[in-house]
Subunit: 339 residues, 2 copies
DNA sequence: TTGTAGGCGTTATCAA
DNA sequence: TTGATAACGCCTACAA
């Protein structure tokens, strides 16, 4: 029923080749026939058939490289599941996907991996460190014709093709809103943030503090400390904070280090403290069940992995991003009952 | 790179046709060659190329009919958006999708529509009323070779191919969990349910009450009333309840009728009452912003619409359901900040 | 029991 | 500037 190139060609009295040249702006076609073909295509409501394109795209042998700061970070388990799902889709288009993993936020290491990706790949999916060196490398790659799609990071750079991540400001604000609904009156809050090298972690803190100031100006924010996604550091610091500030009634953990922070709270027997965190890793689930963490703001990690690959595949094959442009990842709230 | 039928045929020294017969169990093939082909297919890690199949499936001209109790119910706006997305996918396979809408929960009307669908469609997507007449009709259709996929309903019937909906028990329990986190101590709760004709609405009430009994046995549930998804009835009843029970401190609305219930609470100036509801319609969003509704348990309506069509398309083309079997729809919590 | 051939829609190449 | 043709992977009808 839907219109095809063949139907358009018949109706216009030309060959399929000519129609193809018009619809894909390949030039070398008589302006008059071009106009006629475009009119007919519009009349018939032509949209390209994806299956046909997929089949034809196979011969190109595209390659996508994925760079992740994922080694030793359980949050990325689900992201990688999503990437695996995206890879199945990529296979239908004959596109190969390489995953390059690194540990922590080592700028020069990521720079190396980007160099390699620039050699072997046609498009790069990047879990970016927010650093000038990385930003300039991304620009350089773009100039050489290799686009970058960000996954699970925002970046102070507008040269990327797309960014598959949540609104981190909203994430922080949502955590603050939850605190407000549960704590009600006066409260003394501690913020345990991940790394200042990660833009999203900073944005969460900003979103949290701004929302508290707006909705609950009477609340007191005692302190903000970095866990560097390191459990021991998180544990030691939280222990000290609890000692120095026994009045603590709320704790917001922006990202990694949950185990350390929760362990300190648990050992102190402070089940009265309202803890809100991010993500839904096994560690988080464990402490939700224990009653330490009351609620968590999740960010669809599996979907992020899938959407990043999907967008890359789509861009290589169709030359544009899919309709659901920067891939709408939502901040979702989970408590014990629906986790 | 991925294996194709052609590659298997070459390696086995047979024709593509023979490989096809083996892989799709069409019979009429020498047991010895069958074994050899299966071994080679496994070795090469063969998986059928979806684009190839989609292209070949076009000639069959399948039809899917979708029956929805959606007229005058804004909840279904997003479900229909998802269906529209699924229809684009269906087009690639040359599958036509007809949407048959009805108003309310009129069993004989739904029965009529099922009759019609049985005539014209190869597969039916159904937003089912939980009634013996409907259940037996579904069985009858199945016997005549037409499978049914449920959307946004569960049904006391295990003859359906799949059910794309949330766990309604969990939905109710999640609402109860939220109440507990926000109300803390003693509470007096009113439940406004939709229709007893809809299985999901009953299940939500059961999930809610059971969770309250378990986690907060000290809470008191004052009453449960039906809104029949009718705003006026909801408004009038809620008004009476508030008059008779000024001690009300929590209200759970399972489904439709939110505007009526919220209006009654707003007019009584009872901003102290903690209201939890389901879904995220414009009405709900409005009352969340007004501060009447504190939190809502959503059920990814757009995704439900899409997944139902997607599953139907996949089943017609591949003869089996997609990997993400009964389509995992989650109960998600939203508050003002992340809605 | 097996092989051949044509077509689904799109794209690329080569010839006219 | 245009047309014809082959190819991508799968399925099916028909011939051997």
């Amino acid at each position: 029923m839907p219109a095809t190139i063949k139907m358009i060609a018949e109706k216009a009295g030309v060959s399929r080749g000519t129609v193809d040249r018009v619809l894909n702006n390949r030039g070398d076609v008589n302006p008059a026939t071009e106009k006629r073909i475009l009119r007919i295509a519009k009349e018939l409501g032509y949209t390209p058939n994806q299956a046909g394109r997929a089949l034809a795209a196979r011969k190109k042998g595209y390659v996508i490289d994925v760079i992740l700061c994922s080694l030793g970070n359980e949050f990325f388990d689900d992201v990688k599941n999503g990437i695996a799902r995206g890879m199945q889709e990529a296979e239908n288009y004959g596109i190969r996907v390489n995953i390059l993993e690194m540990k922590g936020y080592d700028v020069s290491r990521q720079h190396e991996l980007l160099d390699r990706a620039g050699e072997e790949a046609d498009l790069i999916v990047l879990n970016a460190i927010n650093d000038p060196l990385i930003i300039s490398k991304v620009k350089e790659l773009k100039d050489s014709g290799k686009e970058t799609i960000l996954v699970n990071t925002s970046l102070e750079c507008n040269e990327t093709l797309a960014s598959v991540c949540v609104d981190y400001i909203e994430s922080g604000a949502t955590a603050a809103g939850l605190m407000g609904l549960m704590l009600k009156k006066q409260a003394d809050i501690v913020i345990a943030m991940g790394s200042k090298n990660v833009l999203g972690h900073n944005e969460r803190v900003v979103g949290f503090i701004n929302n508290i100031k707006k909705r609950h100006p009477e609340y007191n924010i005692i302190t903000t400390f970095e866990t560097k996604d390191d459990e021991e550091l998180a544990y030691d610091t939280m222990k000290q904070v609890l000692k120095a500030h026994p009045e603590t009634s709320g704790v917001y953990i922006t990202s990694g280090g949950q185990r350390g922070v929760c362990k300190a709270i648990e050992e102190a027997g402070r089940y009265d403290i309202t803890v809100v965190t991010s993500d839904g890793t096994k560690t988080v689930q464990e402490y939700v069940r224990k009653g330490i963490i009351r609620a968590t703001v999740m960010q669809e990690p599996e979907k992020q992995g899938y959407e990043a690959i999907h967008a890359g595949v789509y861009y290589l094959v169709y030359g544009e991003l899919p309709d659901s442009k920067p891939a709408l990842i939502r901040n979702e709230i989970y408590i014990e009952e629906n986790l």
